[in-house]
C-alpha cells in the first residue's frame, strides 16, 4: 500500500504534501514523518488482520460439524491460539493508536510531529520484527497454548513453538511502550498556544489515557513472557509446581497486563466515537469533562480488576470478591461515556454518512458487550459461564462490535484528510450495514451457546448446538465479505476517488480547519493559536461531502 501511494500523481495539481514531497522506497522506509509512519502501520496491521481473520474463518468452518468439519483438534488449538495472538497484539492493540493516533495526535494539538519522530519509526520496525517472530511460529507449525499462555502448559509441557511466539510478542510490546511514551510526552509538551487541557479534542484525552496504560502495563507482560521463556529454555522456573512454583501467579502477572490491554483496545475507539458523534450531530460534546475524566478513570480502574479472569483458577474467594466489586466499578466510566454520546446526539443535526453508521453501531454493540461484562463480573454467574462461548461473545461484541467498528469509522472519517481522496459513499454505507448484520449473526448466537454450556477452545461440540453454530458461521462469512468491501474501495479511492477538499465534513478541529487534505509534511503553514473550546459548532447545518 505504501508503494501505491508513493506513485500516485499529485491529486491537487502541483501542491506538495506529505505523500508526494519525496518518492521512492527509501523515503518511506526511513521516514520520520508521523503521517507516513501511520500509513506504514496501516499496511502492516491490515496484513495481520487478514491473517488472523483467516484463522477465524477456518475455525468457524470447522465448527459447522459437531465432530469438527475440516481440521484435527490439535490444529484447531493452533488456530484459536494464532487468531488470538495476532488479533490482540498485532491488530487490535496497535490499530487505532499506531494508525489514527500517529497521524492525528500531532495534528490535533497543533504540533509539527511527535516529540520523538525517530523513536516512532523505530517502534514500527520493532513491530515488524515481533510480527516476524510470531509469523515464524505460525509457519513452523503454530502454537497451541491459547493466546493466554497459561503455565505450566506453556512453560513446561507444550512442544510447539511457544518460545518464538512469546519472543515475538515480547518484542512487539516495546513497540507499544515507545508509542505510548511518545504520545504522553507530545501531549504534555507540544500543545499549540491556547490549547489548554480542557480544550483538547476527546480523541486526544483517550489517546493519553491509552498511552498511560501502554507505559505502565506492557512492561509487566514483557517480564512475564521473559520468565516463561526462561523456564522453557532452562527447564527451571518460578511457575513450575514441581519446585513449589505457583501457576496462578503467572495468571496474576499476565492479567495485570492483559486486562488493561483490553482497555488499550477500546479507549482509542471511544475517542474516535467522541469525534464522530460530535461531527455528525454538529454539536459540542455533552459532558465534555465527564468524558475526559472517565477516560482517565478507566486508565486507573482498569488496573484494579484483573482477577475477574481468574475467578475459577484457584484464586482466593476473598480476592475474587474484591475483584468482582471493582469490576462493577470499572463499568461506570464506560457507561458515562455512552450516556454522554447519547445526550450529544439528542437534538443534534444528524447525518448518516458511513462514519456515523459505524459510530451508531458502536454505541449499541459496545453497550451490549459492556452489559454482558457485568454478568461476568458477578462471581456466581461467572462460575457458570467461564470458559464458554458467553465470554467469547462478550469480548467479541466489545472488540469487533466496538473497537473494530470504531476503527473503521475513524478510517473512513479521516480518509480524505490522510489521502486527499474520497471513497464512494454508497459502497461505504452498504459495507457498514453488511458488517453490522454479519457481526450480529456471528456473535449473538454465541451468547446463547455459551449460556447453554458450549465450552470455548473446543474443536467439537454436542450435536444439539449445531444449529446455532451454523448460524454463527453463516454470519462470519457475511462479516468477512463485509470487511473485504472497504478494503477494495478504499484502495481504489487512492487512485480513482474524487479529490477531497480540506474539510469535507465541515468538522471542527485543527486537523480539519488548519490544514489541507492531505497535509504538508510539516502539518501546518504556521503554528495555530487556539481560542475556542473543542467542537464549537455554531450552526446545526449537517455535515456533507
Amino acid at each position: 500500500m505504501g508503494v501505491a501511494v508513493a506513485q500516485v500523481s499529485p491529486p491537487t495539481g502541483s501542491r506538495v504534501h506529505y505523500l508526494n514531497e519525496s518518492y521512492g522506497i527509501k523515503s518511506w522506509l526511513f521516514t520520520t514523518d508521523h503521517k507516513r509512519i501511520s500509513l506504514l502501520y496501516l499496511g502492516s496491521i491490515t496484513v495481520m488482520f487478514f491473517i488472523g481473520g483467516f484463522a477465524a474463518l477456518l475455525m468457524r468452518l470447522n465448527l459447522l460439524e459437531p465432530a469438527g468439519a475440516i481440521v484435527q483438534p490439535e490444529t484447531y488449538n493452533k488456530l484459536f491460539t494464532m487468531h488470538g495472538i495476532i488479533m490482540v497484539w498485532f491488530f487490535l492493540i496497535p490499530s487505532i493508536p499506531a494508525t489514527l493516533g500517529n497521524f492525528l495526535v500531532p495534528m490535533m494539538i497543533g504540533a509539527r510531529d511527535l516529540a520523538f519522530p525517530r523513536l516512532n519509526l523505530l517502534s514500527w520496525y520493532i513491530y515488524l520484527v515481533g510480527a516476524g517472530f510470531t509469523l515464524y511460529a505460525l509457519i513452523s507449525g503454530g502454537v497451541d497454548s491459547g493466546w493466554t499462555f497459561y503455565t505450566p502448559l506453556s512453560s513446561i509441557y507444550l512442544t510447539t513453538h511457544v518460545l518464538s511466539a512469546a519472543t515475538g510478542i515480547f518484542i512487539t510490546g516495546f513497540s507499544s511502550i515507545l508509542t505510548g511514551l511518545n504520545f504522553i510526552v507530545t501531549i504534555h509538551k507540544m500543545r499549540a498556544p491556547g490549547l489548554t487541557w480542557f480544550r483538547l479534542p476527546l480523541f486526544i484525552w483517550s489517546m493519553y489515557a491509552t498511552s498511560v496504560i501502554f507505559v505502565l502495563a506492557t512492561p509487566v507482560l514483557a517480564i512475564t513472557l521473559l520468565l516463561v521463556g526462561l523456564e522453557r529454555l532452562l527447564h527451571v522456573g518460578i511457575f513450575d509446581p514441581a519446585i513449589g512454583g505457583d501457576p496462578v501467579l503467572f495468571q496474576h502477572l499476565f492479567w495485570f497486563y492483559s486486562h488493561p490491554a483490553v482497555y488499550i483496545m477500546i479507549l482509542p475507539g471511544m475517542g474516535v466515537i467522541s469525534e464522530l458523534v460530535t461531527a455528525f450531530a454538529r454539536k459540542r460534546a455533552f459532558g465534555y469533562k465527564a468524558i475526559a475524566y472517565s477516560s482517565m478513570a478507566i486508565a486507573l480502574l482498569s488496573f484494579l480488576v484483573w482477577g475477574h479472569h481468574m475467578f475459577v483458577s484457584g484464586q482466593s474467594v476473598y480476592a475474587g470478591v474484591v475483584f468482582s466489586a471493582l469490576s462493577f466499578a470499572v463499568a461506570i466510566p464506560s457507561a458515562i461515556k455512552v450516556f454522554n454520546w447519547t445526550a450529544t446526539l439528542y437534538k443534534g443535526s444528524i447525518s448518516y454518512q458511513a462514519p456515523m453508521l459505524y459510530a451508531l453501531g458502536f454505541i449499541g454493540l459496545f453497550t451490549m458487550g459492556g452489559l454482558t461484562g457485568l454478568f461476568l463480573a458477578s462471581l456466581a454467574v461467572d462460575v457458570h459461564v467461564h470458559d464458554t462461548y458467553f465470554v467469547i461473545a462478550h469480548f467479541q461484541y466489545i472488540m469487533v462490535g466496538g473497537a473494530v467498528m470504531a476503527y473503521l469509522g475513524g478510517i473512513h472519517f479521516w480518509w480524505p484528510k490522510m489521502t486527499g481522496r474520497m471513497y464512494p459513499d454508497l459502497w461505504a454505507r452498504f459495507a457498514a450495514f453488511v458488517i453490522f448484520i454479519g457481526f450480529n449473526l456471528t456473535f449473538f448466537p454465541q451468547y446463547i451457546l455459551g449460556y447453554l454450556g458450549m465450552p470455548r477452545r473446543y474443536a467439537m461440540y454436542p450435536p444439539e448446538f449445531q444449529a446455532l453454530n451454523v448460524l454463527s458461521t453463516a454470519g462470519a462469512s457475511i462479516l468477512g465479505i463485509g470487511y473485504l468491501i472497504p478494503f477494495v474501495y478504499l484502495i481504489w479511492s487512492i487512485r480513482y476517488g474524487p479529490e477531497a477538499s480540506p474539510n469535507p465534513w465541515k468538522a471542527k478541529g485543527l486537523e480539519w480547519e488548519h490544514s489541507p487534505s492531505p497535509p504538508p509534511k510539516d502539518n501546518f503553514e504556521d503554528v495555530p493559536v487556539v481560542t475556542e473550546e473543542a467542537y464549537a459548532y455554531a450552526t446545526s447545518e449537517p455535515a456533507r461531502v
Binding site: V220, D246, H252, S316, V317, A319
Partner: protein, 104 residues
C-alpha cells in the same frame, strides 16, 4: 539550563550518607532482629533510593510533573503487589476442596 547548579558539596554529603546507610544495612544483617531485619533493610533501601533520586537525579529541583511520573510508577507497582498478595495470603482462609463431591 534553568535548573540550579547543584554544588559539589551537596553531592559529597549525599554520597557520604549513602555509604553510611550501606554500611548500616550490611551491619544490621549480622544482628538477629527477627522480622525487624526485613523492615530495617527495606527502610534503609528506600532512604538510599530517595537520596539518589532527589539529589543525584535532581528530582528535588524538578517541577511536579517529574514527581508525578515516578510516583505513578510506584503507585501502579503497589497495585500489582498488593492485589496479588490479597490472593496469596487469603487462599487458605477457605477450606480447599479436594474433589467434586460434597464433603470432599
Amino acid at each position: 539550563m534553568a535548573e540550579p547548579l547543584v554544588p559539589v558539596r551537596t553531592y559529597t554529603m549525599v554520597f557520604v550518607a549513602l555509604l553510611a546507610l550501606a554500611a548500616l544495612t550490611t551491619g544490621l544483617a549480622y544482628i538477629d532482629l527477627g522480622p525487624f531485619n526485613t523492615v530495617a533493610a527495606l527502610a534503609i533501601a528506600a532512604a538510599k533510593m530517595l537520596l539518589v533520586a532527589l539529589f543525584f537525579m535532581h528530582v528535588w529541583y524538578k517541577p511536579g510533573l517529574t514527581r508525578i511520573v515516578i510516583l505513578a510508577a510506584f503507585f501502579w507497582l503497589s497495585l500489582l503487589v498488593s492485589m496479588t498478595l490479597i490472593d496469596v495470603f487469603t487462599r487458605n482462609w477457605t477450606p480447599q476442596p479436594t474433589g467434586w463431591l460434597p464433603g470432599s
